[in-house]
Each structure stands twice: as C-alpha cells, then as structure tokens.
Amino acid sequence: MSAAAEEGSARTPWALTAPALMLFVGVLLIPLAMTVMLSFHDWGQYKGIEPVFILKNWREIATDPYYAEMFWRTFRIAILTTLLTALLGAPEAYILNRMSGRWKSFFLLVILGPLLISVVARTLGWALLFGGNNGLVNKLLMSLGVIRSPIPFMFTETGVVVALAHVMMPFMVLSVWAALQRLDPQIENAAMSLGAGPVTIIRRIIMPQIMPGVLSGAIIVFSLSASAFATPAIIGGRRLKVAATLAYDEFLNTLNWPLGAAVATLLLVALVLIVVGSNALIERRYAEVFR
C-alpha cells in the first residue's frame, strides 16, 4: 500500500507536466529544428525549395558584404539603444526609489505601464512626433536652442534608436529598481555621516551595488532590441534593414525561405551566445551580490 503510494507520487509530477511537455516538443522544438534544417536547403526562383543539404545560404551570408553590414547595423542599433536606456533608466530608477510612497507607485505605473501597450501604437506615436523635418520633436529642440537645423529622425538609425529606447526603457528601469530594493539605505546614511558628498556616494556606494541590475537590464534590452521588428520596420522604413525585417522580407516578399531561415538561425545563435556568455560573466564578476 505504502509502496504503491510512493510510486504514484513519483509519477504524479510527470503526469501533470506531460501534456505541456508534449505540446512544447511537438510545436516548439520540432518547428525550430525544421527551421535550422530549412537553412541548409536550396531555393530557386522557379524551382522553389529543394530539400537537399547544401551550404549555399550560409556561404552567401558569410561572403556577401550586404549581410555583414546588415548584422553590424542590427547590433549597432541594439548597443546604442542599450547604452541610452542604461544612461537614462538607471538614474530615473534611483530617483523613483527615493520618492515617497504614493508618488513612487504612481510614477512606477506611468513608466512601466507602456510595457503592456501595443508596440505598434507606441511606435506610431514616435512616427507622429518625428514626422518629417518640421515634426514636433524638431520644432521643440530648435525652439529650445538645442539644435540649429532639424535632425532627420524618420528612416534613420537615430530615429530607430530613440523610438526603440523608449520601447525598451521599462525593462531597464524595472531591472535597476529591483536591484535598488536589495540595497540597504543605512549604508548611504553611514557614508554621509562619514563625510562623503553626494557624488562620492553615488560613485562609490550606489553604482557598484546597482551595477548587476544595470547589466542584467542591459542583457534584456540588448537581446530584445537586436531582434526587434515593429520599430525598425515603421521608423526605419524599407531601406534601413535589420535582421528581423530582412528575414521578414525574405519570407513574405522574395519568398526565399531557406535564406531567411539562415538569417533567423544566425540571429538566434548569436543572441543565445551573447546572452549566455554575458550572464556567465556577470555572475562570476558579481557572485557575492547574487548570493
């Protein structure tokens, strides 16, 4: 009797997870494997997809400078977006954390709420604000005397980075904010009582402690920016291609699926390597903070 009960309890977790496991193997792992295989198939304008094993698509990506330029642009946009969110998001999280209760939760809602609002709607907002050379942003910056002549935002990398930074900002604020919650406010007071000025406190006390939060936020922002689709497609237009929009074009316009699959596979592999690699680095560097 007791043996039977034990056996039953050993099988229970597997019985409970089996449906989800079968779902994931059937409609996630198999399609991903099929995509990797697709990238080795041949394709021709008239013959369509031929299920053979060749390296044609991979050779094309490796040799044609167009793809190198496109991937470099993708990662450049992602890096700049990450820097922008870190430089602005980290101080904002710090300021938020010092506000009093009611204001803190109100502004947290205002800043994090956009996370759940449609990316298309948010990017449309930036398209409206940029809108040509006499868009609202340019008018404002010129009337404030920040710039002399209008900056072209639409269909440029500058515009994509600004809009993308806005889309990704909540992730950074959230990540730094979580790090700030683990910080003991008494340390700040102790530093002050020992005569440290505000700059010293931020540089020597706050910065080292929230750095893991900034870095893990940076990983999230970077990987989401490098694979972003809606914002580069709407703000960047048809000419400013990044990995996601190029894969979209290969699949739905050119119909060269194997080449599109190779671009997507490369993007996935590159991102997984970067994310796993930097996670390992951060965890080694800040092992004591995570403990």
Binding site: L88, I117, G125, I234
Partner: protein, 268 residues
C-alpha cells in the same frame, strides 16, 4: 534617506514627459476634427472613431485578436496549471530543465518563432489558419500563464488541502473545490497577462496571419506601411483603451507591481 534635489526632479519630469508623449500624441491626434494628421487645436471630434466603422477589415481584425487572445490564453492555462502545480510541489529529476523549457519562449526572438511556425504549419497544411494562430499563441503566452500560476501555487497554504483530504476529498473534487479556488487569483491574472501578450503580438503573428486571420496589430502594421493617417491613431487609441482595461483587471486581482516585477527577468 535623502530627498531628491531640484536637478533630479527636473530630470524626472523630462523623463516622464518623454515616456508618456508618444502614447499621448496618438490619443490626441485620434480626436482631430481635420482630415489629416494634426493635434486637435480646434476642438475635439469623434469623426475618426466613426470612420473605423467604414473599414470592416479593422473590425474583423479586432474580433480575430479578441478571440485569439481569449482562447489561446485559456488553452495555455489548461496546460500551464497542472505543470505549475507539479513544479511548485514536487522535487523531481528534470524539474529545472522542464521549467527552463516552459519559459524558453521568452528567450527566443519572436521573429525566429514566427519563421519556425510558418514553416511548420505550412508543411502541416495549416498555413494561415486560425488553428495555427491559436497553437502559436499558446506557446508564446505559456510562460506568462505558468509564472503567475506558479507564484500563487508556491506560496499556497496546503493545510486546507490536507483537511479536505482527511475529510475524504480526492482527485478531481480536491482540485475543483479546494485547490483551484485557492490559486484562482494567480490563474485569472495569468490569463489577463497572457491575453495582453497575445493581443499585442505583432512580430510572430505577422508571419502567420493570412487575409481573414489578420489580427489587429498585423492589420495596423500593414496599414501604416502604406500610409499614416488619423484612422490608425483612432484604432490605436481603442487598442490602448482595451489594454488599460485589462491592466486594471490585473491590478485588482493581483497587483500590477508584482506582474511587472515578474516581467523583468527573462525567466532565469
């Protein structure tokens, strides 16, 4: 703790304005009485909201999105609730690997998922169908359904269940009458967050949708690619309003701060 100085407050004000501006401008332009993109300086008008009625493809896309979000989130919960209970209560071999697998859709770029599902469903003869969209959306909303259920199931007081068992309840009765009511707040919030994720997804869905199964974000995206006029702003304003409603629901049942805090780490 020290207060924020004037410089910090100026920074904060500019920051908040920049965060809100794009969303606000969309909602404002939606109320313009003019026939072109402009801020409503000469009074507000509902003209562009009424115009939506002349575009049945937007109305249809809205119903597709609504049905898809509701149904795929529900199906995801059917799989996620048992899995969450198993992960929360049992220590078994492969538990961490399973949890990682179930959260992996958060890590895989949606463009890659879109391509993988397009290839898969086209070979299966389901290309462009609503069924394919449902299955694909179940996968992408699964992590959200799982995580919120998991959070409630982990912190649950199990003495009530033990009392029920001692009174002779077992199996299905135990789940339906005791366990489910206890984890219900997490389940409902999981559903609402999953719904929002499904309702807003563009990147993956744009690969799978065909005329007739286009969702609202896909329809909006394709429309914006051709031209930007006040019509898309009024549609966007409606989308923003729907998301806000779901947000309020989430806040009531679960607390928005907890939902958002869970979204920050990508499933590590």
């Amino acid at each position: 703790m020290r207060r924020n100085g004037p410089l910090a407050l100026i920074f904060h004000t500019v920051f908040v304005i920049v965060m809100v501006a794009p969303i606000l401008v969309v909602c404002l332009v939606a109320f313009t009485p003019e026939g072109f993109l402009s801020l409503p300086t000469n009074g507000f008008s509902l003209r562009w909201f009424r115009t939506i009625a002349n575009y049945p493809e937007f109305i249809h896309a809205f119903w597709v999105s609504l049905g898809l979000g509701a149904l795929s989130s529900f199906v995801a919960l059917l799989f996620a609730v048992p899995a969450a209970l198993a992960i929360a209560r049992y220590r078994f071999r492969g538990r961490d690997a399973l949890a990682a697998l179930f959260l992996s859709p958060l890590m895989i770029p949606h463009v890659v998922l879109g391509i993988a599902f397009l290839r898969f469903f086209t070979s299966a003869g389901l290309g462009g169908s609503f069924a394919a969209l449902i299955i694909a959306h179940v996968i992408i909303v699964f992590p959200f359904a799982l995580r919120l259920t998991l959070a409630v199931a982990t912190g649950m007081d199990r003495t009530v269940e033990m009392a029920a068992v001692s009174l002779g309840a077992g199996g299905w009765t135990l789940f339906r009458r005791v366990t489910l009511p206890l984890i219900l707040p997490g389940v409902i919030s999981g559903w609402a967050l999953a719904f929002i994720q499904s309702f807003d997804d563009l990147t993956m869905t744009v690969f799978l949708a065909a005329p007739g199964t286009e969702t609202l974000p896909v329809r909006m995206f394709l429309y914006i690619q051709d031209n930007i006029d006040p019509l898309v702003t009024s549609v966007s304003a409606c989308v923003i309003a729907i998301t806000m409603t779901a947000l309020i629901l989430l806040d009531r049942f679960y607390g928005l701060d907890r939902v958002l805090a869970g979204k920050g780490d990508t499933g590590r």
